[in-house]
């Protein structure tokens, strides 16, 4: 028996794990990052304990959600997949028709009591749906199946892009594409699609909003408009760079404490982290994130059916994409898109999605049948 299978058996013996259905390494890593997040948030908010308290409460609720989702067997998730996807799709159409204007874009759905973004559902709904579609089909998929899967991805992504929320559209699309990639689509097709994508770039540019084009141009040369579009990226690079090897120390970041850094408790919190904890801190965070992603991929390889495998893999890679897009944007290698840093940025919406995804991963890992089907 391989070592991990031994560990597996031990795991099942463990009564606590059986009850909680948690993957401890993953859970501990998530807790570590979230704890680090609260610490940075305290500093980034300028010592606003109320804000940290609110975020802690969300974290607790999120952990509760994680625990709850972990109890749902993967098979049941699979059965729910088309319904969740369809509901999400309907809501997206509804938003398109009747969504309220918020922040200049139609993203929010006002349900009277709460306002929420249906696009957030699709971050989970799309990979679930595509995984469900491939679950009982032989893999690698054939061209016709690929077309169907692609449609499942493109329709909601296009609806979200119309809001317009290009960032989320890309993330939702990526989640679906990861499933297709993991399902084993041929390399030649991937290469062809890649070439097509490059060729389509100018067309895409043509359909972009002005602010989106500006963001891309700003990435190429932030100093061209230092007080306008380039301000965010210049200030965040100054913050990270001035942190040096060891950082300025917790709550001592001048860029963040003196308000030079915009959105420092939300999208740009990574710059606060880099400024106060330095390169060593950034490395530590990257290791933690890397561990979470790789652990998720490992869970996926250990899953026993196609649906669980594809979903676990896609969720892990989605998590990675969130991390990468945010850190890439804040450190100036990707254009500015409104993507929070997972588990660290202040805010509740992404917390719900993330914790649900981790719950699914835990469920997949803890509900394995000991015998392969």
């Amino acid at each position: 028996m391989r070592p991990f299978e031994q560990a597996l058996h031990h795991g099942v013996e463990n009564p606590l794990l059986r009850v909680a259905r948690l993957d401890w390494p993953l859970f501990v890593a998530v807790l570590l990052v979230a704890g680090l997040g609260l610490l940075v948030l305290y500093s980034a908010s300028g010592g606003d304990l109320g804000l940290v308290k609110r975020q802690s409460l969300r974290l607790l609720l999120g952990l509760g959600l994680l625990l709850a989702v972990a109890q749902v067997p993967a098979d049941r998730l699979r059965l729910w997949s088309p319904w969740i996807y369809s509901a999400g799709l309907l809501l997206l159409v509804w938003v398109d028709v009747a969504g309220v204007i918020g922040k200049g874009a139609q993203r929010w759905l006002d349900l009277g009591v709460i306002r929420f973004q249906p696009s957030e559902i699709m971050k989970l709904g799309v990979p679930m749906m595509v995984a469900w579609y491939f679950a009982d089909r032989p893999l690698p998929p054939r061209l016709r199946e690929l077309a169907v899967a692609a449609l499942m991805v493109v329709v909601p992504a296009a609806l979200i892009a119309r809001q317009p929320d290009l960032g989320t559209a890309v993330l939702v699309g990526a989640a679906g594409v990861f499933v297709i990639f993991l399902a084993g689509v041929g390399w030649r097709l991937i290469a062809a699609l890649g070439a097509l994508g490059l060729g389509a770039a100018p067309v895409l540019w043509h359909f972009m909003h002005d602010y989106q084009r500006r963001r891309v141009l700003t990435l190429l040369d932030p100093e061209s408009d230092p007080m306008g579009a380039g301000y965010h990226i210049i200030q965040s690079e100054i913050a990270i760079g001035s942190g040096g090897l060891y950082g300025k120390g917790w709550t001592n970041g001048t860029q963040s404490q003196l308000d030079f850094l915009p959105e420092r408790s939300t999208d740009f919190i990574f710059a606060v982290f880099g400024e106060e904890f330095g390169f060593l801190g950034v490395l530590a965070l990257l290791v933690l994130y890397g561990f979470i992603v790789l652990r998720g991929l490992y869970i996926a390889t250990q899953a026993q059916d196609t649906y669980a495998r594809l979903l676990a893999g896609a969720l892990s890679l989605s998590f990675f994409v969130y991390c990468f897009v945010n850190m890439g944007m804040v450190s100036g290698i990707l254009p500015v898109v409104g993507v929070p840093l997972p588990l660290i940025s202040y805010g509740g919406t992404s917390m719900v999605t993330l914790m649900t995804a981790f719950g699914m991963l835990m469920s997949i890992h803890s509900h394995r049948r000991l015998l392969a089907r």
């Binding site: 469900w132 579609y133 679950a135 009982d136 089909r137 032989p138 893999l139 690698p140 990861f178 990639f181 993991l182 399902a183 084993g184 200030q235 690079e237 100054i238 913050a239 990270i240 760079g241 001035s242 942190g243 040096g244 090897l245 001048t254 860029q255 003196l258 308000d259 030079f260 880099g274 330095g278 390169f279 950034v282 490395l283 990257l286 994130y289 890397g290 992603v293 790789l294 991929l297 996926a300 390889t301 196609t306 495998r309 594809l310 893999g313 890679l317 990675f320 991390c323 990468f324 850190m327 890439g328 450190s331 100036g332 290698i333 392969a372 089907r373």
Partner: protein
Amino acid sequence: MPATPPEELKNPAEERALFRARAGVAAALVVAALAGVAGRAAYLQIHKYQHFATRSQDNRVRVVAVPPPRGLIYDRNGVAVAVNLPSYRLELTPSEVGRRMDAARWNALLDRLSQWVEIPEADRGRFHRERLRKRPFQPITLRFNLSDEEVARFAVHQYAFPGVQVVARLGRHYPRAGATVHSVGYVGRISEKELQALEEPQNYSGSSHIGKTGVEKYHEALLHGRAGLQHVEINAQGRVLRVLDEEPPEPGADLLLSLDMGLQAVAEQALGAHTGAVVAIEPSTGDVLALVSKPTYDPNAFVNGISAQAYRALLTDPDRPLFNRALAGRYPPGSTIKPFMGLAGLQMGVITPEKTIWAGPYFKLPNSKRKYRDWKRGGHGKVNLHKSIVQSCDVYFYDLAYRMGIDRIHDFLSAFGFGHRLGIDATGESPGLLPSRSWKQGARGVAWFPGDTVNVGIGQGFLLATPLQLASAAATIATRGKRFRPRLVRAVRRPGSSEFEPLAPEPLPPVVLRDPVYWDVIVEAMKDVTRKRNGTAWRIGRDAPYTIAAKTGTAQVFGLKENQKYDPSKLHRRLHDHALFIAFAPAEDPQIAVAVVVEHGGHGGSAAGPVARAVMDYHLLGRLPAPAAPAGEAVVARR
């Protein structure tokens, strides 16, 4: 369950292997991407650390100039004439008032405030303009110069007005108001033009005011001091959070004036309701003891900007209070020029002290019918130089001037400072006008006529002098030719020093005569002006416990036709003659030289003389002269 059944059977083992391969590729990509982020972080945080550390420092630290306190100005006895007083302003910081404010709410707030501190419409308009322009955390001044009562009233109700506070700032104040406005001058807000003209604008980056006139302007460099620097930490909005380190400002130097405010007050009072000027100089130093120009105005109104209405009133006042008569007033010196003309004649050998002429009722140029009349209808008869000065004989000086010629007169008078700025340490000094052949050709485009010279002989015609020049020239006779630059500041107390450091008097090129005895000839004549019963200022000197050397003068404002008779009762007051008087005393050891101009005062001896006497009495005896003799005594009007 899928809607359509699988057409082929799945191969779990193969799919699993395929998935593992794909997951492996993904994991590799993930690690590579994270390594990319790490590489980017290393580039920013290690490779370019210095660059970003510097930029971060530049971001947060700003250098702020701290204005130095302006030097104080005292009179020669230590009486403060320019001080820095805390003046109270009512300031409002919008960000501390509330977030959701609009014009209506602001107005409501101002209305509530007006219950305790009145906020005029003009200040309200300024508030609304600044509110839209400034950042919300920058305080806006609602009112300048609150009275003590207003400060107290607001203090009681301050709790009801968060974000509104009374702030004390140092502001320039002139306790003697009008008494010093024509000498000390005043400061005002720095204008854009002044800022551009500054040699070291950074030294003024914290200052709001600059010397505009007088000593305040002339000695700006001494008075201003050096701005200090503060390195302050700021946030992204530019708000100062704390002071990191500080280089304190160096205060401006304090000045001790040569002016005696007591003497100044005496001179002002002696002028009474007349407009005019008084300049008193200490002959041995050039110290200006009094510098009066009447009417005066309040310099304090100009410090924070005078209202347009008040300024217009000053500008259109027919008495022209803004005009500095002592330094810039150009008057025909009239007969006060005669002692200098006499000296010129002696120096050039055109006359001797003994030589006499027959002075009839008028003087005529050869081959001309034009009569230059003497003020005394019948003429003075046989006169020498002494008698001509004592009785102020015109014909003698018509003749003398004609014989010397304008060029020689010009050169000699020039040595006394006529026609030049003397270089007093204030602003607005006029050079007067010392005419010459070339001047008239250039300025008027007309040749010089001998008749022009004749008029200059009695201080009329083109010759114009300022009261300062007359006082300085009188002091030059008093010192027998030694000259000093007239000065308003006699000592400076530099920052860090507790003592005033006296400034050495600045000598000017002296007047040297062929024979020093000539000085005595003229001084004796000037003494007899006040000593002899037939002297033109006999009334001024008769009860003085010291000897006064003086000369009276009357300057025509209104040109009379050749045969017209001057009759003040038929002329408007503004066309009345100016009364002039120059003097120094005690004649044997001169302590003070005075020049007085009483505009439209009439006769020099009776209108200007008493003013000079009051000034000399106060300076030499420390008291004012006894009340004037009863008017019953018949006095012949003398010029």
